[in-house]
Symmetry: C2
Subunit: 325 residues, 2 copies
């Protein structure tokens, strides 16, 4: 029996956790895994490595590529690829793939989870209940906002924004959205959405605002001091995109000044956020450690897509999800 | 100008919080509020009270009714009415109303909130993040279940169950349900639901199970030791009905034995649950202090319906929501 092709991947890197058993299982269906740490000990032993699967490492620089003359593809297990030196890799004739699409459901679901949890003060109630705040009496008069029937502003109506909108619709939510690109009339109608070319014009109508834009120079940040001033005092901001899309200092000021009602952030600047940060002290803020894509289903789906891209590259067929030129 | 009719309601009762400003505003549109404590000081001064609006008091017994010869209606601001001595009140020709329907949206929304939050381990991640567990690194390998695309079992497909199902549908969830009554084929089709006359036959298929039955002798409890044994080891139980529908001791055992994957409970036995209870120590359990109906919208909607019932009784027209005979 022929041995399996070898792929290089990272583990035990200080910034990179152990490769999960799920990930190893998916890779080992087709490949022999060479961990970066092992590779570094005897690089010349592994000249037959044919692909790199990037999880949260290894760093791919000229020195590494010089030691790997037979690599056909770098497959990153991520949607973003700003961690890769694309020209360096492409100039050597190495293909590049990423894993878009697979995590739409998971991220859209996390967006809804944070919208609902912040509407209903879920984390605060759970914490206070555990602490004994309600040991005498349930908090009958502590009424909360309601997501159902509210008005939701979606900042960034890409694939994830659209998936989220189809779900928010079921809560009889009025959907407004802002994006550079406008959706077709049919697509707008299907989710009952109203387009605003001007973000500041949309914000005053919204009970909830969720940021789902890509991180680009134009969206760094897209929500700042000016935008918070346009929001309702009761409105809640949710961010499931990337930390720098929200001006975090301006957000803290807006929350302290009561200019907005609350926030739920799966992404921050930096990540992880130091746990002495003042956002952790605000009872109207929910913080989660960038877990929006982190369901078993989405996570394994990304790895499977990376593996399928490597198989395609080795077969010489079209990649399933090549990084755009 | 004629003075407003007087109504009796409770406040400052040790078991009953102050009446909220929202509630007072709604009642004072039409009535003069006489607080029970004030009434007790000079009962004879308030013979012209025409209605009792029950919030979480007063206790309505023979002695109280003897002091209130002109009461036409007892309007309870609640869906349940097991706290009222119905025959005693009706025998005096006093009408009785409650407030069903108004809180369907809020309770169904809380059900979805708990389903999503427990799927994504939201409360645990938020707590651990705040505590500093992820101060070095975000928890990349800590993958969670996903609600989207899962199989949901709804125990009790009444108004709230059906509202919840329409929302769960948007998450591409497969819906199974158990109830004494089967929905019409058209209703089942509209939510893509499959009926199980036998609860134990449904449970093995479910990734999530939510209890939304009324509390009756038959449902006390409906989920017990036997049912937990039929559930998947990974399945999550959510209860948004009443505490006694779930056998809490059996639930604790099932969680400890790993027979089920987790639970999210807005209702418990007793309420509030003492904060030294072992359920509070389980990281796969979310507990909230009976807040499912507690949005401003639902809460004010209930009070408005109670007031409208009182106005109907004083006008001699049909009540909007009479307690059934």
């Amino acid at each position: 029996m022929a041995s399996k092709p070898k792929i290089l991947t990272a583990s035990s890197d200080p910034r990179c956790p152990e490769i999960s058993a799920d990930y190893a299982d998916i890779m080992e269906q087709h490949f022999e895994i060479i961990h970066h740490k092992l590779f570094e000990q005897h690089p010349s032993k592994y000249q037959d490595i044919v692909a790199i699967i990037w999880i949260c490492g290894p760093d791919i620089d000229e020195e590494l590529l010089n030691k790997l003359p037979n690599v056909k593809i770098v497959a990153t297990v991520s949607v973003g690829y700003d961690h890769l030196n694309i020209p360096l890799i492409r100039n050597r004739g190495i293909k590049l793939s990423h894993t878009p699409g697979v995590l739409n459901d998971a991220v859209a679901e996390m967006g809804l989870t944070l919208l609902l949890a912040s509407a209903r003060n879920l984390v605060r109630f759970a914490e206070e209940y555990k602490r004994g705040t309600y040991s005498e009496q349930v908090p009958v008069n502590d009424v909360t906002p309601q997501f159902s029937g509210s008005t939701l502003g979606i900042v960034g109506m890409g694939r994830i924004g659209y998936t989220l909108a189809t779900r928010a619709m079921a809560f009889q939510v009025k959907i407004l959205y802002n994006d550079i690109l406008r959706r077709s009339t049919a697509e707008e109608k299907a989710i009952g959405a109203t387009y605003f070319s001007n973000l500041n014009g949309m914000l005053p109508h919204c009970d909830f605002v969720i940021v789902l834009v890509n991180l680009t120079p134009e969206t760094t940040p897209i929500m700042g001091e000016e935008q918070f001033k346009h929001m309702k005092k009761s409105a809640i901001l949710v961010n499931c995109s990337r930390g720098p899309t929200v001006d975090q200092e301006a957000l803290v000021k807006a929350l302290k000044a009561g200019e907005i009602g609350g926030a739920a952030l799966d992404v921050t600047t930096p990540e992880p956020l130091p746990n002495n940060h003042e956002l952790f002290k605000m009872s109207n803020v929910i913080l989660t450690p960038h877990i929006s894509y982190q369901t078993r289903k989405a996570s394994n789906g990304m790895m499977q897509l990376a593996v399928d891209n490597v198989l395609a590259a080795l077969d010489g067929t079209d990649l399933l999800s090549e990084i755009p030129y």
